[in-house]
């Protein structure tokens, strides 16, 4: 394919010149582009399912919402549930903990968020977060009775020493973000649906 302007070279005389001889465009050029495009499209069409098969399958996605009954959680207590195969912390804050969380100067935080932004309206005492440290994914301590709650009374990740406060916001240590608040809603006064 050293020479694509066949019309100009006398030794390719057998080449049928159908049209467009002057601008150098041959019918073969069209066939060439059309064939490569079709093959390229086919290649992408084959690649798509090969890549997509690695995404979460239907049964994994089917488990992607969880109902949690929060009626039995007393102030100061927390429970661990499982959401998308990962731990979920549901914590009923005491009045003191709420006051502590609201007393913080928001602009001093690494990931500035108020407690109100991290809870649902009318349920400011119920803090729902993932139990997954935003540093490298360990499970922080502090949800179960007697565990180390860290310097700020919330959660403490033992892997690399991240401290979270009573609103589960990052206060000290290597984690870049607050503990993630998943999407959830109150389906009744005592039941939340996560996901």
């Amino acid at each position: 394919m050293a020479d694509t302007t066949g019309a100009a070279t006398p030794d390719i005389v057998a080449e049928p010149q159908v049209e467009g001889g002057d601008d150098g465009v041959r019918r073969r050029d069209f066939i060439n582009i059309a064939a490569v495009s079709a093959a390229g499209f086919g290649g992408v069409a084959v690649l798509y399912p090969l890549i997509s098969q690695m995404a979460p399958s239907a049964d994994v996605l089917a488990e992607s919402s969880t109902e949690v009954d929060v009626s039995a959680i007393e102030p100061g207590q927390a429970i661990k549930a499982i959401f998308r195969k990962q731990p979920l912390f549901v914590r009923r804050l005491t009045d003191k903990e709420i006051a502590e969380a609201n007393a913080v100067n928001i602009s001093s935080l690494r990931d500035p968020q108020t407690l109100a932004e991290r809870t649902k309206e009318g349920h400011q005492d119920l803090l729902v977060t993932m139990g997954v440290c935003t540093h490298l994914g360990c499970v922080p301590l502090g949800a179960a009775e007697g565990e180390n709650k860290g310097e700020f009374g919330g959660y403490f990740c033992p892997c690399h020493g991240s401290h979270y406060d009573t609103a589960a916001r990052i206060r000290k240590g290597p984690a870049p973000l607050n503990l993630q608040v998943p999407e959830y809603e109150f389906t009744s006064d005592t039941v939340i649906t996560v996901g």
């Binding site: 690695m54 995404a55 499982i82 490298l136």
Partner: protein
Amino acid sequence: MSFPWAKEYTPANPVMKFLDEKLPLPRLVYNAVGAGYPVPRNLNYMWNFGVLAGFFLVLQIVTGVVLAMHYAADATVAFGKVEHIMRDVNWGWLMRYSHANGASFFFIVIYLHIFRGFYYSSYKAPREMVWLLGVVIFLLMMATAFMGYVLPWGQMSFWGAKVITGLFGAIPVVGEPLQVWLLGGFAPDDAALNRFFSLHFLLPFVIAGVVILHIWALHIPGSSNPTGVEVKGESDTVPFHPYYTAKDGFGLGVVLVLFAVMLFFLPNYLGHPDNYIEANPLSTPAHIVPEWYFWPFYAILRAFTFDFILPAKLWGVLAMFAAILMWFFLPWLDRSPVRSGHYRPLFRKFFWFGLIPVMAVLFYCGGAPAEEPYVMLSQIATAYYFLHFLVILPLVSSFEKPEPLPYSITEAVLGSDKKAVLGENTTPAT
């Protein structure tokens, strides 16, 4: 492809003659690792590790295929299957311990092989492609070893998989979807375990393919040697077989003795007790560490604890990958015309008193808990590591006065006897 004095393959009998005409495979082997490959006569034992790495690749493939016959990649049974191999399968314990310790020995010999490359600058022209393919092999090995460690589905398997795939989550915008795509879920589970098993089985064969390219690329200029002076004549070389098959065979024997010591007396020394606890997504081990061969790079990952434009976590991830990807540029970063560190006094100082201690510090800190003084030590060592490759190595040749090189390999071996010099003695003494 080889020196003009290389011995030519002659089929010994009609069957081999037939084969040589139809499919010259014996000829290929003869020219690659037989008497048909002339090799510098002065190679020291640092030149054993390529063959040793090849041996451990074969060992890993053989034991791995056997283990796969008794294993099942299902999160509910995987942990039990490994115990089944250890207790019930005939010689299963031998296969699994060989495979686990074989991985460690594979990395030991590879690190010594890379060390040889660093000290003698084996990466320099005309062997750049050999080096680049070697770095590719190393990256493939790391991926393979990581996925293999997930398969027993113990606590370290699970949390290692979570932390390492979590690294991809640090990439801005696409990070989280990418992590979910890699795992096939929101946390490591069946989907992740199955794909890791599939890829862990596949990648060693990919490595074997790249190893063939690595050897092919090596055989175009021929092997380097401790003087760094290129081969000038026939008296500088000896045939690979029997000279280096014997030398490599001896080295293999020594390494196999050490391997047997680990295998039979300390089979779990390099592992983690936590991995004999089944994976539990709700409880993190107190101290997550990767396998020992990842420690230097894990230390670099954890050395970044402060945000600077980008978040600290992303810096750590970028630095960890850069620490190895940088090696791809090594042939052009090191600008000294002299290859061997043996003749480079200034480079040698930076190598022995800079790079090597710093690698040792990174290695130690990577296995230590993330607390002081290890964090600060890792930070200093990480800074020096990058300084060595990006600043010291490119600049050192401008200030250095290399020691005089021998005229030829023969002269280096026999002294500057006139008869030893090229042209006066081109036929090897018999």
